[in-house]
């Protein structure tokens, strides 16, 4: 017998005297003393289906070799966003506006403004609060909202597939650093970045089999820090003494480079 003791410490001498090995837990009321919550959590921990499902999920995650299929506007790749008016998908389990945390609320407002369903944030909030705009979890629709991420019909999404199972998943583009929708920011600079992402979508909606998404660790590389943002175009032009292209022009050049077409000379 090897005894685990939780609670009264004066039971331990009896175990010691009978030479029974024991461990004592430095116990504290679980769930910060919320007994009902502690019982719910214990029932989850004891549910053998969850252990089994976790093992299966871990196996699928680690054995999957995901391949990037391409980029597509959400309404074209997620049927629910095409068929239903005013639906937003959000990170996490099902929620209502009233129960959403700050960052998710911010991202939801940003998405409403982006879609043009409202012109002010006050208006956006009231549409969300009164249920005019429906909310469903990304996970119900084969999508992922990273962090506090929200998916709306006109957002571009990465499409990734597992060739072995045919499973497909969709995810917001990474907006880079700074104020980002996935942290709930929705100012003009955030929405501008989405406009830029749409341009990428337009230019690069082709030959996706070249891209395989892998964890950085699988490449044996340290993740590089993305370049610093906040480039001031006019200042840079003055310093470099060269003309900087606008986003669409630049992307077209990049696409041409990818296709083996030499860039115009002044790009060199």
């Amino acid at each position: 017998m090897n005894v685990l003791n939780l609670g009264i410490q004066s039971f331990l001498p009896g175990l010691r005297d009978s030479r029974t090995p024991f461990t004592t837990v430095d116990w504290k009321p679980p769930a910060r003393g919320n007994a009902a919550l502690a019982w719910t959590a214990a029932r989850l921990l004891a549910d053998s289906r969850i252990d089994g499902a976790n093992a299966e999920a871990w196996k699928r995650m680690t054995s999957c070799r995901p391949v990037l299929i391409g980029i597509e506007t959400a309404r074209h790749c997620l049927p629910a966003l095409a068929s239903r008016e005013k639906l937003l998908l959000h990170a996490g389990p099902p929620l209502t506006w009233a129960r959403a945390c700050g960052p998710v609320r911010g991202a939801l407002v940003g998405a409403v403004l982006w879609e043009g369903w409202a012109s002010t944030e006050v208006e956006a909030e009231s549409l969300l609060a009164d249920g005019t705009i429906a909310l469903e979890p990304c996970h119900h629709h084969g999508a992922v909202g990273p962090m506090a991420g929200v998916v709306s019909p006109s957002m571009p999404l990465w499409i990734v597939a597992d060739p072995h199972t045919g499973a497909k998943a969709h995810c917001n583009l990474n907006e880079g650093l700074g104020k980002v929708l996935r942290f709930g920011a929705y100012g003009p600079e955030v929405l501008d970045r989405y406009a830029f992402a749409l341009l990428i979508c337009k230019e690069f909606g082709l030959d996706a089999s070249r891209f395989t998404a892998l964890p950085t660790a699988a490449l044996g590389q340290k993740a590089a820090r993305p370049l610093d943002g906040g480039l001031k175009v006019a200042k840079a032009q003055a310093r470099l003494r060269t003309r900087l292209r606008g986003p669409d022009e630049g992307l077209r050049a990049m696409r041409d480079a990818g296709a083996g077409v030499d860039p115009p000379r002044n790009m060199k």
Partner: protein, 495 residues
């Protein structure tokens, strides 16, 4: 007089440790009141009812609260209490110095660190006990749930979980068990031997296992099931699981089963299970026929082939200066609930009108447990006495105060008390009772009641049976080796 209170956030100590700290603080010069407790809504309500904190703060159920009332530098005393509470758990001095690994913070972490753990002894507050038991069952441990205040729905759920996983759940409210010779909870140090015990009563288990040990036999396993197991709603789930374990144990040659009379459907199920066993069963349904002592005696005869040798305890010392009352009532002051119920039942069975705060056949309910009437048996471990106070098996102060009160009443002829030894209990209950009896003051007529005691325990117990008996007899207390023999002699004295 000043009053201070302070929270000690995110800190936990068990109920016995807190009681000990409270008593130590209360004994300091200038201190009128000291309480250290978990700051739950229930405990704060108790502080208000007791008039200690007129306007208690909001509950913080995972913090401790220190309350001190008195004169002097209370703040620095609270500092000292807080330091003590923050010190590592009291296990360090048990396991030896230095290289004791830090106690794991949870069942899951503990099992991860030591996968050979196979048994959990759980005595955390009832609100959390079922959850902890479930975590232990899920990790493959058998569980003894000492805690009470677990709902009957949780009890049934836990017992079904245990059955599905092939595990054992003893309790809730399981006060005593002896498994593979290991005493768990309140339990006595008994010799290994051929009798397997399943008991719904903690002190019932202690009484029969101690008697068998002192008579020279021994115990293979003694399982406690908790008092509610044989109710219709729980269906004897633990009792049946324990019997299954004993049936597979080659060292067990007799089953001794102890409980209150079960619900009729459960009784039939038990009887059918007893008939299927390859070993004989002695069933003691308390209040129906056999006393605990008779049941232990029957089991002894089955395994040893003869009746146990009569135990002779020393006569009490004669105290010439004391004059005892020659008429009046029996007043039983008990710390063990089952012993109290047995005593009341035996008294009522003899034809004496008997009152008690516990239920037993033929026994009338006591109007007010704080005031005796007629022949009267009081279980001081009942809820009305233990709210916000430790159990009398740990802290005899309430019983000793009641002893003085009963002794002063001219209608008390004889006071009966149980002295329960063993692990987990008070370090020297015999000395505490002896001192209190020595301090009794005769009434205006110069008279006192006699005090008699039954002693539950063994020579292997930390308090040692024979030493305890000697302590008691030196104080003029007549000692008996069983509750039944104590009550029989007391009833004989009345006639």
């Amino acid at each position: 007089m000043a009053l201070v209170h302070r929270f000690v956030p995110q800190c936990y100590r068990d109920s016995v440790s807190l009681m000990q700290l409270s008593r130590r603080l209360a004994a300091l010069p200038g201190i009128a009141q000291a309480s250290v407790l978990l700051a739950t809504a229930g405990n704060l309500a108790l502080l208000r009812e007791a008039g200690i904190l007129a306007d208690p703060p909001a509950p913080r159920p995972d913090d401790l609260l220190v309350v001190l009332a008195g004169e002097g530098d209370l703040e620095s005393l609270v500092d000292q209490a807080e330091r003590e509470l923050r010190a590592p758990a009291g296990i360090a001095d048990l396991a030896g110095p230095a290289d004791v690994p830090a106690a794991p913070p949870s069942v899951l972490e503990a099992v991860k660190a030591d996968p050979t753990l196979d048994f959990a002894l759980i005595s955390v507050p009832g609100d959390y006990a079922a959850g902890e038991a479930l975590k232990a069952l899920a990790r493959g441990l058998d569980v003894m749930l000492f805690s009470d205040n677990v709902s009957i729905e949780q009890e049934v759920f836990l017992k079904d979980q245990a059955a599905r996983r092939g595990r054992l759940l003893l309790g809730p409210d399981c006060g005593s068990a002896i498994l593979d010779g290991t005493p768990l909870g309140f339990a006595n140090q008994v010799r290994p031997g051929p009798v397997g015990v399943v008991s719904a009563s903690g002190t019932g288990l202690q009484e029969v296992t101690s008697l068998l040990d002192r008579w020279g036999s021994g115990i293979s396993q003694a399982y406690g099931t908790g008092g509610r197991d044989l109710k219709e709603a729980v269906g004897g789930r633990s009792a049946l699981a324990c019997i299954d374990r004993l049936a597979k144990d080659p060292g067990t040659r007799c089953l001794l089963f102890v409980s209150k009379p079960p619900a009729p459907a459960i009784r039939d199920r038990l009887a059918a299970r007893f008939r299927m066993l390859a070993i004989p069963t002695v069933a003691c349904f308390l209040g129906e026929g056999k006393t605990l002592e008779q049941a232990a005696r029957d089991a002894f005869r089955l395994v040893e082939g003869a009746a146990p040798r009569e135990e002779r305890l020393p006569e009490p010392r004669v105290l010439p200066e004391r004059n005892y009352r020659s008429s009046g009532y029996l007043r039983g002051l008990y710390s063990g609930g089952t012993l109290c119920a047995e005593a009341a039942w035996l008294s009522a069975r003899s034809g004496a009108e008997t009152f008690s705060n516990v239920q037993a056949p033929g026994v009338l309910p006591l109007e007010d447990a704080w005031r005796s009437q007629g022949h009267c048996f009081i279980d001081l471990g009942e809820d009305e006495f233990t709210r916000g106070r430790p159990h009398p098996m740990l802290d005899p102060s309430l019983r000793l105060a009641r002893l003085a009160e009963e002794a002063a009443r001219p209608d008390t002829q004889l006071i009966l008390a149980d002295v329960v030894l063993g692990h987990g209990a008070h370090p020297d209950p015999a000395a505490a009772l002896a001192q209190a009896v020595a301090a009794l003051i005769p009434d205006a007529d110069g008279l006192l009641p006699e005090v008699w005691a039954c002693v539950t325990g063994t020579e292997g117990d930390p308090q040692v049976f024979s030493t305890s008996v000697e302590t008691l007899t030196r104080a003029g207390i007549r000692c008996f080796g069983s509750n039944a023999s104590l009550v029989a002699a007391a009833l004989g004295r009345l006639q």
